[in-house]
Amino acid sequence: MTNTVLEQVAPSRSGLFTIAALQKAVAFVALIALIAFFGVSAPNFLTGINLVGILQATAVSGVLGVASTFVIISGGIDLSVGTLMTFCAVMCGVVLTNWGMPMAVGVVAALAFGALAGAVSGLIIAKLKVPPFIATLGMMLLLKGLALVIAQDKPIYFNDTPNFSLISNDSLIGYVLPNFAIPNGVLILFLAAIAGSIVLNKTLLGRYIFALGSNEEAARLSGVNTDFWKVVTYALSGSVCGIAGLIIASRLNSAQPALGQGYELEAIAAVVIGGTSLSGGRGTMLGTIIGAFIMSVLTNGLRIMGVAQEWQIVVTGVIIIVAVYVDMLLRRQS
């Protein structure tokens, strides 16, 4: 149901329509098949509580996937999304707990520090011409270290701001539809995806993101200030990581400075399973959301079936390779 909403907002990117539609369908069919499989073979899979659990587990990696989608379509890569998320959460904790500012200021701080760190990555990539992989690998470690230093190796709790945990855990939908109390974290994920889809398909920035990823040199020779738009893209991605930081900090009611590393790979996996090309120029937000759900449904279903955690990881790895391979096969045929 949520998918049809997104489908309407994510219109055909002109000529990309046919291929993209096919891929969206393939990923979507795979997701339905997975749910059906686990529904039949794992008795407790299709219960309300479990489904809400899956949704909640997807919130953080899904939002990071949204952030990564911008960067990957623009032809870049961002390995720092996980630790950037943590950095934003820690900065939010500093503002709210250490400085005692109002909650709105903390929320703005998380987004602003995300945008700032993203812009720094963008500047390193655009102006110093450091390859995105290296630049963001450096930023990943840099931000991880900074988060630990700022938080002094300890979690920052939000005990003085009781409303903070409502950001992720309360359910606005629940007030309207009491039987459908999906936590806000999930709501934020879908709102972020819809907004991201609008940015990609309906705004000037989105148009430049696709142009950068498809043929940066042609864009530059068309008089486009490619450096500027690259920085904007990474800054946007960074502020979306700030949103993820708010969700995770709110859910844990604390900023955990040691957390974060590893999330970037989950995010990238969600993006590529969703049919976005790692070489840039092609991709959708809807695909990324489906990709994120495929990952979390898989983890959840395997666990319920009693598959050992070690094997869950193995299966996830196989799924990523198969998904991208099928994607390539389809593209070759079209």
Binding site: S14, G15, G206, R207, Y208, E217, A219, G281
Partner: protein, 516 residues
Amino acid sequence: MAEAGAVSAGTADLIEMRRIEKHFPGVHALRDARFDLRRGEVHALMGENGAGKSTLMKVLTGVNQPDSGEILIEGGPASLPNPRAAQALGIGIIHQELHLMSHLSAAQNIFIGREPRRLFGWFTDEARANAEAAALFRRMKVDIDPKTEVGHMTVARQQLVEIAKALSFNSKALIMDEPTSALNETEVEHLFAIIEDLKRQGVGIVYITHKMDEVKRIADRITVMRDGQTIETLPAAGTPISKIISLMVGRELADAARPEGRADGEEALRVEGLNRGPMVRDVSFTVRKGEILGFAGLMGAGRTEVARAIFGADRKESGDIYVHGRKRRIDSPADAVRHGVAYLSEDRKRFGLVTPMSVGDNMTMASWPRFALARVLMRDAALRRTSKEYVNLLKVKTPSVDQETRLLSGGNQQKVVIAKWLLRDCDILFFDEPTRGIDVGAKAEIYKLLQGLAEQGKAIVVISSELPEVLRLSHRIVVMCEGRITGELDGPTATQEAIMTLATQRAAAANRLEAQ
């Protein structure tokens, strides 16, 4: 065609190619091409860009297979199914762009893929490779340490390594493609000495060049190709340069349409003392409103580099640019576009279009901010409407403005790029090979389009290697050779011969030519 090849029939003891035919999709690349080579001679192969020289040599080196024809090597029929077979038969080639691995030593490069081995073939025998490479260098009378990393050598010395590599296959025939294009005068002299030496050892050399003075100096015979045919083979001694040039350009002008009179509009663009690297040396010119200025020259003369430097795509070393009489600083394409200067690359797919995007998006790419509400929300309806206008105006054949541009033909892609700049109100347009990859019918349409733009008062620069194209379009013609402007001609009265003479005139050789 006279039986020109007969001049040398029976005396070619090394290579003889007869009645070679080769078709590529849509192109008759070689028609009744012939060529022969004797031991110990330098045989120059000449012709305009696209005359078929490279294709013929690709046939001889086994890269391309001929549709029909005969190749005799040392009197016996030879089949050359692949480059390895040609190598085994003693045919070596030195490409214009060198193919060396810069992190390996000279000896490692020479014996790559067939290194001498030792200890049951598990290890390479570096000592033997070095000794054999040193022997090759001794034979060439050059002083190169086989252990030197190639990346640390000058281009001239790298070329010598390539020659040594070709000789290591016991090459009896050596093809050199524009070997002096990256060499300075001393290095050229050195190369010529080595060529003389190889001649004495009985090696036959095919020498591909555009440079008349070199041909006069080292060639024994000259073969001229044009439009895939071998036109004539002549002895180098006693053949005047003017005769070679007239054989090279002898093609009839298709429909002799020439621009009328000269354009006398205001000056639109003036370039003074532009420099960038070896390909742009002290270039100055002007172009007026309503004028088509032709930029003629051979491939690699520096015309594209001039346009890219003016457009800000590459950094300039020095030089001033005046747009509509006012000095402007252009450091990036964005600067150029702001001042109404546009550049349309010959490689549209790489530099002109974002091919997976739609016709509408590409047409408006340089003007997207204009189609964005508050620079944020794209007004796609307006974007489509405007694109449709330009599709109709330029008669772009596309099912809709939403079509991906990669699915359009070359001519229609070119129109999309033109629309991009018209939509951005650019009035000084550099067209680099505007009809490359465009079929004959669409060419005439592009010509009409360019002339129409000039009539509307745009200033147009056309860079073209096709002389008939330059002559058909240009009010004035500037000719370049090796990074410099070697002359300017009046469009309506210029001849192919006059352009070719300027295009092959090296600054250093100019005086010598006149003295002859």
